[in-house]
Symmetry: C2
Subunit: 506 residues, 2 copies
Amino acid sequence: MKRPFEAKCVDLSTAGIRVLVLHTEDARDLDLKAMDRAAVTTNGAEPVHCIVDLTDTFVSPGQAGLFKEAYSKLNISDGDKVYIEPMGKPASIAHIKEKMDGKQHSDTEVREIIHGLMSEDLSDVELTAWITAIYIRGLEKEETLSLTRAIVDSGTTLKLNAKRVFDKHCIGGVAGNRTTMIVVPIIAAAGLTVPKTSSRAITSPAGTADTMEVLCPVNLGKDDIETIVNKIGACIVWGGAVNLAAADDKLIRIRHPLSLDPRGMLLASIMAKKKAVGATDVIIDIPVGEGAKIKTAEEATILAKQFNALGASLNMNIHSLLTNGNHPIGLAVGPTIEARETLRILNGENVSPELIEKSSQLAGVLLEVGGKAARGKGRDMALELIQNGKAGIKFREMIEHQGGDGKIKIDDVPMAQYEYTVTADTEGRIEQINNKGVSAVVRNAGAPSDKVAGMYLHVEEGDRIRKGQPLFTVYAKSERKIEQALEAYKQTQPIRMAKIILQTLE
Amino acid sequence: MKRPFEAKCVDLSTAGIRVLVLHTEDARDLDLKAMDRAAVTTNGAEPVHCIVDLTDTFVSPGQAGLFKEAYSKLNISDGDKVYIEPMGKPASIAHIKEKMDGKQHSDTEVREIIHGLMSEDLSDVELTAWITAIYIRGLEKEETLSLTRAIVDSGTTLKLNAKRVFDKHCIGGVAGNRTTMIVVPIIAAAGLTVPKTSSRAITSPAGTADTMEVLCPVNLGKDDIETIVNKIGACIVWGGAVNLAAADDKLIRIRHPLSLDPRGMLLASIMAKKKAVGATDVIIDIPVGEGAKIKTAEEATILAKQFNALGASLNMNIHSLLTNGNHPIGLAVGPTIEARETLRILNGENVSPELIEKSSQLAGVLLEVGGKAARGKGRDMALELIQNGKAGIKFREMIEHQGGDGKIKIDDVPMAQYEYTVTADTEGRIEQINNKGVSAVVRNAGAPSDKVAGMYLHVEEGDRIRKGQPLFTVYAKSERKIEQALEAYKQTQPIRMAKIILQTLE
């Protein structure tokens, strides 16, 4: 049953789904309820599938309210004639219901759901039900594999000349953990191919993409990435600008409101991105500790085994590494000062020693796996590539090819106009520096949207300090932001001193 | 962190949630992601809570797009200054997550979620996750009780003078099962109080409210219902016009796309509506059979016991009745012809004998429960109240008080302009008449939105028929609709003849 309507075009774009707004009376007549589907067509054109919303006021009977996604696809204007025909539910809805009932998905079923997600034939409500069901019922190994492959196929994939492609991933949660910008130039300097796509900050004060962007553009497309990597062996770009693993971003949007992180989906999300760049050899950095995402070694071991098994099924060689995630790794936190710290390290300066050590160890694993270093010699070779300047040269080559100034000096990187240094009000020993508290300070200083915002730690865990000694400096673009950051410091108290007398009872 | 914005008012109303549309850059600056929450205020006014949606085009940086629900509540116009402050998640989100993890809700937690639903502080995505979790994890008896009470408290309740209030409910799925319009006048004629609220058709071709509306208005408010019932003891109105069990309608909207019918929610939904009208004694008609919602007696028995137990906790006296749901009960299907059939039956004509018998038996249970008939004598008393015209007089009194013409004659009810009678093309015995097929025919004829659309069955299950004998008549307002109905008949074949030779192999 197809009925003609007059289009009312609404200059509004909705995240996700195409919406058709109908008057309650018309909907009743067409037997359509809110969240049902209808096909909208003009004469002879390809139908556009929409989700129905109802109103008593916004459109009159006989009118069809169409949001931007729908009317631009139909290529119509306000007042044009459109036809509306109710549609059944897509088959993938039955699969979602089956997952709720505890059934295992077939490969085809997973593909149909991801297709429904990409074609926007599935609504947020339906996708939420699916993700909730997966959270409760779990995904079997084969289902996770199917999901990974479907996510890979939902986007573009890189075509590189190298036979072996190396990559690294960190599951996050540690402040100042900017190893990527050191590991990538080291292994590329040794001749390995590494097309690194990174994320922007989600809950942290800076993602690798945010920090790299201080030095050069990171919003590169597929063609540019392929050209650069085929030429110089490496890049560090923002993954969001390339259409890799496209379904993943859409899934993350729905997972966000309830912080739903079903294990199978987390694994598929990470591995699909690696597969999409053509990676053959990958290290996964899993920080473990109280302030990190993964709290215990047991939990981390299970996760590591799942990564390795999924990698094997995808013909990828995965090395999962459990690392110390109790405290910040680098001393600089915030895009600009992290970028400056990276340049310093690659210039051979001995700053943020723990960051240098961790980066060398991670790079070392890849150098050994890639046959560039003998077994057990990778870490030393990595350190040497920093010290002899070859990693630094490679890094500047990457900056230059991505459109930045390869000859940039550290002092050319503009700093914040305001800074404030907090000193110790007592002597003692630093017992713990908490990641979450440090993140809160830097975010309150304005990061990641304000790149100059940051916090530089002058002390490390275990340091003995005297009264009046500088503990850290905050950077921000205004005094107000400095105050906000210090307020966050007061509330979160991320630098904890060791105590002898824990409590006094009087 | 509160920031000033310029309001952009969008004359669009969204079902459910209040939306705040921000430019991606501003959202990033405020650390807000899609589906996060923010409080919008003007100077000194009460803040309005919104769900954030992002755009790169619809609003410019510095602008805050506000839909009708939000800007009318804030009482502002386009271009006014508003302040936006990010908000944390409501506590009820933690409860939803806990239900996913299999935890039992406390009474307070259920109330907080229903409060979040009513205040529109919970989004569709969050509510879907909750309903999905309940579908998978289930609700314990105490949780169902909490939910029922929370739904009752979410809307208005009727205040009637009678000490005992009687009611009936049918869980549906059987065509032509219009018992309510016969049961209610019978028991009201005997002196019982019965404030009947009914639904409009959802998946069927006619709801009781649709059929009653052929004879008189059914969109009555709380005050009118109380006045009428206190005066004449009964009414039959549309439940949707009164604000009873308000949360239920909102839950049904979310349950619809995935046809999610978690048992605890179904029980709470039905019982809350009974409790809200103040019912003390209720019969629940549970049709059982292949073509009905409940397929087996075992399943029906479990459901019946759950109704009875929940009723006891709510201080209600519940009588669940398993009834034959294999085939249509009345011979007339469709609002107008059902209304005419009801008038005929209450005039004492012997039409739709099975509908008369079922109505008398249901009314009989209530007459016995209400102390109007001796044990075992209810059905006979009910039949007598039909035959002596007292039920008919009460029914016409109800029509009159609800604003219709109490003296209406059957032929005053306008019929469809077109009709077509299908005759048997072979002799034989009618083995089965299928509910779903009959519904499909009548819906295709135009019901429920077109009240004259319908199907009158001239035969019943078990009838021996000869070739050329009329099987049924379809009614519709146009020839095209008649054709559509006949096409649906061809496809669904709801009238099945008994076969002797089931198959011939040659």
